[in-house]
Amino acid sequence: MKKVGVLALQGDFAAHAAALERAAAEAVFVRDAEQLDGIDGLVIPGGESTTMLKLMHYDGLLEPLARFGREKPIFGTCAGAILLASEVSCPSQESLALLDIGVERNGYGRQVDSRVTRIVPEAEFVERTGAGKLEAVFIRAPIIRRVGQGVNVLARYQGDPVLVEQGRHLVATFHPELTSDSRVHALFLEKL
């Protein structure tokens, strides 16, 4: 069974651990750099990206996380997507820059603009994981405004990419961990 770390500084890390277990992986919480040893991949959950960044600085986690990402897969949702992007705007902030994408924070607006919707994924996503629409929960979500070369778009909403991969890394601007659909987590586990 694959062992996946869930960064547990703040946010919906418990929901991700439950989703990973539904997708038949072992989930462990990661709060220290030493806990990155011995895991096959890492999830950076939803939460507040600014908050997580402050906490990463406090614990000196940025460099160990970037090093981990140069060797092993990382899956980021929402705040996690912002922390993995190479370029962050509105306002700008630093990031791990492991995927060549540009994200605009709170792209849809504030909480009153949060939404649940059903999106039709790209054919490739269906081939790799199974048929059916994806339920996408957007909460103060970012919008991916630019994707670089080598970034593969697996789903879009209103024309903007919302599920993308580059090499071993995967990013969703929505929250698959808040639904009962395990396909996005299963897709990540395929990368380990």
Binding site: L9, D12, G46, E48, Q111
Partner: protein
């Protein structure tokens, strides 16, 4: 009935999920909001006066001024919450139109209605409400609250009431999980809570919405204590900006919420903090001075 599966309710609870493991701090201006954000707060609560000052100065405590809330919303990128008076659905409508991320229908402000709370399912913006026991928590959830927090005794700097409330709620939930169906009907009557919600809690052993703690948290140890007792995140009101070194204390309480299971890290967080806010002995307070008894 309770709209648990409605998309709108899931989105409301979803934001509460994103705030778990973190600290939501009361702030009264943009400078304090920046200090909170820089310390690693997961959200801020915009208000006119912190509870300790409301207690001291008296008078009617209302929703904060719009200019103040807007100034705070402009100054930080983390979610901004604001308080509305209990039952004051028009303050809530104004806060919703302003675009705050969460409304706290709060006993800290002077109640506008002594019988009714706001019908919260009718709003797009999510609500958090205080509770002292399971019955109160489930009545608020039935009305549409997407997050519950213990009331504690706001502005007291005394953790005893928050501990009492979280222990009561956890204990009452645990009891439900071992009762038979017919006993749950009786229990629902005792709790003054809808049977459907009582049955949900009996089946799951937890509240249907995230359960946070508030009211009297003044030190990193206080924050870790309520997290140990089952709170999923903490609100800190007067505890930070009524202490002698707010920046250091804000950082320390954030670290305590994250490392509530790690005494070595809690020790580290508890060093060099300056003085905590002065505290009040809740047991010696007159019933009329208590904020926690507001709410029905």
């Amino acid at each position: 009935m309770f709209h648990f599966d409605s998309e709108q309710f899931r989105v409301k609870v979803g934001l509460a999920e994103m705030l778990k493991g973190g600290v939501i701090m009361d702030v009264t201006n943009a400078d304090q909001a920046k200090i909170a954000e820089d310390s690693g707060a997961s959200a801020v609560m915009a208000l006119e006066r912190v509870p300790a000052d409301i207690r001291k100065e008296g008078g009617v405590a209302r929703m904060a001024s719009i200019a103040k809330i807007e100034q705070i919303m402009r100054s930080v990128s983390i979610p901004v919450m604001a308080k509305a008076r209990i039952g004051h659905f028009m303050e809530a409508r104004i806060l919703e139109a302003l675009g705050v991320d969460y409304i706290d229908e709060s006993e800290v402000l002077t109640p506008a209605d002594e019988e009714h709370h706001i019908a919260k399912h009718d709003f797009k913006v999510p609500f958090v409400c205080g509770a002292r026991n399971l019955g109160e928590a489930l009545r608020r959830v039935a009305e549409g609250a997407a997050m519950i927090r213990t009331k504690g005794e706001a502005g007291s700097g005394n953790i005893v009431e928050a501990v009492r409330h979280i222990r009561t709620i956890v204990n009452e939930m645990r009891k439900l999980t071992v009762l038979g169906r017919e006993e749950l009907v009786h229990e629902a009557k005792q709790l003054l809570a809808p049977l459907e919600l009582v049955e949900w809690v009996a089946g799951h052993g937890k509240l249907p919405v995230p359960n946070f703690s508030a009211g009297g948290i003044a030190t990193p140890a206080d924050a870790a204590l309520v997290m140990q007792l089952g709170a999923e995140a903490v609100f800190v009101g007067s505890g930070i900006f009524k202490s002698t070194d707010p920046s250091a204390r804000a950082v320390a309480i954030v670290q305590a919420a994250k490392n509530f299971n790690n005494p070595e890290k809690l020790l580290e967080a508890s060093r060099s903090l300056g003085d905590a806010m002065p505290g009040l002995d809740v047991a010696k307070m007159h019933e009329s001075e208590l904020l926690q008894t507001r709410g029905w």
